[in-house]
Symmetry: D2
Subunit: 147 residues, 4 copies
């Protein structure tokens, strides 16, 4: 962890661990409607790691993504700053977090590293700020209004 905090990068061993954890989280997702299982694992700056799966709802609008589950857990355990989040699915493609998740995560900082893992463990890596450029965030709500 110290090394991550110092270098701002995850070691190859840690990336592999993140893949393993996100894949494990995927196994407990509840996705009866889309059949699209997703798992997420997030590492807080505290060193704590949280896992989450997607949880769907018959009223689709109440569906919650895996990234949200992991972050909600983390935040409600007291963590507020995060280093990296890994996302795993069953499809042979690099699946990115949806816009809702990008918005949900950016609340806690733009510098989080996002890993999109294929089932074989290969990945694409981004900064959250690259996935949600010119984001809307807490700073905007504080701006003075003309009216």
């Amino acid at each position: 962890l110290d090394e991550i905090l110092r270098t701002g990068k995850l070691s190859a061993a840690f990336e592999k661990e993140l893949f393993t954890l996100a894949s494990e989280a995927k196994n407990r997702s509840y996705a009866p409607y889309s059949k699209f299982r997703v798992g997420a694992a997030v590492i807080a700056t505290s060193g704590n790691i949280y896992l989450g799966g997607n949880v769907e709802s018959a009223s689709y609008g109440a569906t919650r993504c895996a990234e949200q589950t992991a972050f909600q857990k983390a935040v409600s355990e007291g963590d507020r700053r995060f280093l990296a989040v890994g996302v795993a699915t069953d499809t042979d493609a690099f699946i990115s977090p949806c816009g809702i998740c990008r918005q949900f995560m950016v609340e806690f900082g733009k510098g989080v590293i996002v890993y999109n893992f294929k089932p074989d463990g290969t990945f694409k890596r981004y900064l959250l700020s690259e996935l949600l450029p010119d984001s809307f965030g807490p700073e905007d709500l504080d701006r003075p209004r003309g009216q």
Copy 2:
């Protein structure tokens, strides 16, 4: 737990415990916009207990309630059936889960007992089916369509 499963009711001691846990969850909520802190504790039929706080977002629509956090945790750990959920806030009133949470929870059964706790530990108690009568749920998505 066996007693709860047998009687369908929580003992007074367990209700007190549920209040303590929901209150504890409240302490780690993230509610910078509404300043309305909420904590939730849910008991699964497995005996596992999960805590969650509300997590707000500058884009209000991405705000997630405490009940959702607790249930998302629970479901993504593998639990699918629940006995009771307790909700605690800082206001001297019996605050009920919002409609989004009622919908989110009903996915996993209508018989969950919902406790709304005041800060002094007194409560109102409902079945989820009383809070969301004639609910829309998984069974509706399977109905045959005329078209």
Copy 3:
């Protein structure tokens, strides 16, 4: 309209009209994932009527129900108080608004009459307060907090 405002009830002719409008709204819904088409028609106290269909999203959590579409239209045209809303689907059952919609609508008053129409025009009728008892609403956010 005057009669509705005076009696708090819709005439049979108006109920039939509401069914026709909700059914029409259903025809333009966008529901490629659930194939569950829903239409809604809402009557404001101004006499204005607004139609809406459900609009789904590949990220299920961004799915918006028909009732939301109709109410969002209405509110963003300046209406704030409503008499009745009719909901139509393709299934031979009385399909109720989901909890998200009940919450969304209760923001603008608990006394709205909700009609769940079958494709043959028969209906079940509720007050919104019956569908979301002991609701959470604007009045709760204003309560004093212990902390």
Copy 4:
């Protein structure tokens, strides 16, 4: 409109019109909690234009942004393809659509031009694909799964 479709660009006159419409939509927003009023105007390829304001909810998670209102209207009137959307607020800054809205809009195409208007009518302009790079969308739900 023909010129827009041919050139893929809005004329300066049309951009001014879009600003006027988005600002008008803002006047009917319902934002009692954030006091952050937003208006949106969207132009469909059919030439139809739809306005929408943000509609907030005491349960913050049920809050719907202005862009969603305008797009939900449009889709539920039968439009499915869009040229441009303009967003207006009261703050002296270029406020971008949140991630939820980016996700909601990308369902209907990545090539929509997004205008963020300041109250003085100056703007920043993006393609939606620039605001939500490597987006998650309908094409992803169709991918074959390993499981």
